[in-house]
């Protein structure tokens, strides 16, 4: 999603006369359509022309599916630490600070609990704008805790993934979060509680190769890019053109990797029905 800068819209007669202020318009990354921001918001940040689902913040995502006023955030104070003293072109410490300032979040995952159409669930959502939604120790810890809480509370888990994968600045410790989160989900499975994984654009690398593909039910938003290796890396390795629609949600559905594709406007209802059908106590 690209927010227009003032100079793009303020250099014509027309824009002068209608006085377009900053950030009122948004351009669809997929079809290029320019949409009035309010209209996009009314449409849950989905392009009215081509149905492309924009990347949205973690809180926006949670707000779309929880019953009003029921969401309680958990572990809001968990913060990343630069355990390796990692520095690439920038220090990891500085990247953390910059991302925190820009997003108002401590790290790339917001977790908590709430009701989804009356169904109690532990839920979490990634914010791709925080260091590409990358998974480090904080993400792993939050997911492990939420899954453990679900086992204790006897409710289901819903995770909205959107991530570039493991956070390289935490090196091997980020890799180990894959094992940690998957091990926690094994406990949920043994407890007979449902986990619904929602794949949103994009979900890649270590996140896909751990909890994101472990859902009892795996749901994806339309056109979401989902995979382990990125398309550019694959194209460079095999030196051939990738098939049309490769690694998109529709392609994954066709290849048997996910259960269903659900539009954002139907997400809440779908999750609520799934949770009820899987977790509802019988007799």
């Amino acid at each position: 999603m690209i927010w227009f800068k003032k100079d793009i819209l303020s250099n014509g007669e027309e824009s002068k006369s209608v006085k377009v202020p900053v950030g009122l318009w948004v351009k669809c990354e997929h079809c290029g359509e320019i949409i009035y921001k309010k209209e996009a918001e009314r449409n849950l940040d989905v392009c009215p022309k081509c149905n492309y689902h924009f990347r949205i913040s973690a809180l926006a995502r949670i707000n779309i599916v929880v019953d009003e006023g029921t969401f309680v955030e958990h572990d809001p104070l968990l913060e990343p630490v630069d355990g390796l003293d990692f520095k690439d072109l920038k220090k990891y410490k500085d990247r953390i600070k910059a991302s925190q300032k820009e997003t108002g979040l401590k790290d790339s995952l917001v977790s908590g609990e709430g009701l989804i159409g009356g169904q109690r669930a532990m839920l979490a959502a990634f914010d791709f704008s925080f260091m590409g939604g990358s998974m480090g120790s904080v993400v792993g810890e939050k997911i492990a805790r939420m899954v453990e809480r679900a086992v204790e509370a006897g409710c289901g888990v819903v995770i909205f993934s959107s991530s570039g994968g493991a956070r390289m600045q935490e090196s091997i410790l980020s890799l180990m979060q894959m094992a940690k989160t998957s091990a926690a989900l094994a406990k949920l499975k043994e407890a007979g509680l449902p986990y619904i994984s929602v794949l949103t654009d994009p979900t890649m690398g270590g996140v896909t190769a751990s909890f994101a593909m472990l859902g009892d039910v795996i749901v994806a938003e339309p056109r979401a890019l989902v995979g382990f290796a990125g398309p550019r890396v694959i194209a460079e390795t095999i030196r051939q053109k990738l098939p049309e629609g490769f690694q998109r949600a529709e392609y994954l559905l066709e290849h048997g990797m996910i259960d269903m594709i659900v539009e954002r406007k139907m997400m809440k209802e779908t999750l609520s029905r799934l949770l009820a059908m899987l977790a509802e106590k019988q007799g």
Partner: protein, 323 residues
């Protein structure tokens, strides 16, 4: 013995070794005119090698971990275990030669062994896909590990892979799902699991057989979330900065031991496992036996809970208390 593959930083030793070879060739014509000279040079070479290997940079360790003469999984299996019988296939799609596994005996006791396998010559390298598994490889590994669980056999896995394969088929057949399923399933297996990183421990493809009760690392192997080259390309936007990335990532055995990701570093002979493979086999064999001994007294539930806690505790973060 002259090695075919000398690494750049070993050049000074190579030169001495060449001199020794020349003297030896000369000597074969008559009695030991140069015996003293040779003995002196051999000592010099050994000391120099020891010195070089005592202060390898992270990117030099990476080169040793990828050394073409380095013992591979099948070498360790054949030299540590007896009676190895290879088992094939994932029962779904195909047999993946990049992961080998089967049943064997360790000091007479039946066990399960498996690991990524690299090829030695060009043809073999292609067959083994350079040690990069496809989803069917992880699925074969899981099938074998579940077989071990049914028959209550301990599991020994050997990690040696650049990583999962970035290919169309691997993605289409769900390598993410295959890796994820292994992580989840391994965390609950009811038998002891001992993993050893013997060469390259590359990312998710490595971890897919690495959720173990004990994780060992050969002294000059590496274990990382991404290859130094890949990391450099992304974070430095320059693939040639791999030496900087290797350093920043802290991918060597001692560093991982400090971080609590690895339980034990297994010593390699001077100059790396490939120079004296028998010494490497011996060291690893005794480490495997003692690791298994530590785990044997644990009941199934304690074993699984300890494994859970081990991985549950990995990671660093801060959590200020609310006031």
């Amino acid at each position: 013995m002259v090695y075919r593959h000398w690494l750049e930083f070993e050049k000074p030793v190579e030169e001495i070794e060449k001199k020794i070879e020349e003297l030896k060739a000369f000597q074969s014509e008559g009695p030991s005119r140069h015996a003293d000279e040779i003995a002196k040079l051999e000592k010099k070479a050994k000391n120099l090698l020891k010195d070089i290997y005592s202060r390898l940079t992270p990117s030099q360790v990476t080169q040793v971990a990828r050394h073409p003469d380095r013992p591979y999984t099948l070498d360790y299996i054949q030299n540590i275990f007896e009676d190895f019988m290879e088992l094939h296939g994932d029962r779904c799609f195909k047999d993946d030669p990049a992961i080998v596994g089967g049943i064997a005996r360790l000091e007479g006791a039946p066990v399960l062994v498996l690991g990524q396998q690299k090829g030695r010559n060009t043809k073999d390298k292609v067959l083994r896909n350079f040690g990069m598994p496809h989803p069917e490889g992880y699925r074969k590994a899981l099938r074998l590990m579940e077989l071990a669980e049914r028959f209550r056999r301990p599991i020994f896995t050997f990690i040696d892979t650049p990583g999962a394969y970035p290919g169309i088929g691997a993605e289409e057949r769900g390598q993410s799902e295959a890796i994820a399923t292994n992580l989840m399933a391994m965390s609950r297996l009811k038998v002891p699991i001992v993993t050893t990183v013997i060469g390259e421990g590359g990312s998710g493809g490595a971890l897919a057989i690495g959720v173990a009760d004990r994780v060992l690392m050969m002294e000059f192997s590496t274990y990382s979330v991404i290859s130094p080259e890949g990391c450099a390309a992304i974070l430095w936007k320059d693939g040639t900065k791999a030496d900087l990335a290797a350093k920043a990532l802290k991918i060597e055995a001692e560093e991982l031991l400090k971080m609590g990701v690895v339980d034990k570093v297994v010593k390699e002979p001077v100059g790396g496992a490939h120079r004296e493979p028998d010494a490497a086999y011996k060291n690893l064999k005794s480490a495997l036996i003692s690791s298994l001994k530590e785990l044997s007294p644990l009941g199934q539930e304690d074993l699984i809970e300890a494994r859970y806690k081990k991985f549950r505790g990995m990671g660093v973060f801060s959590e200020p208390k609310r006031y």
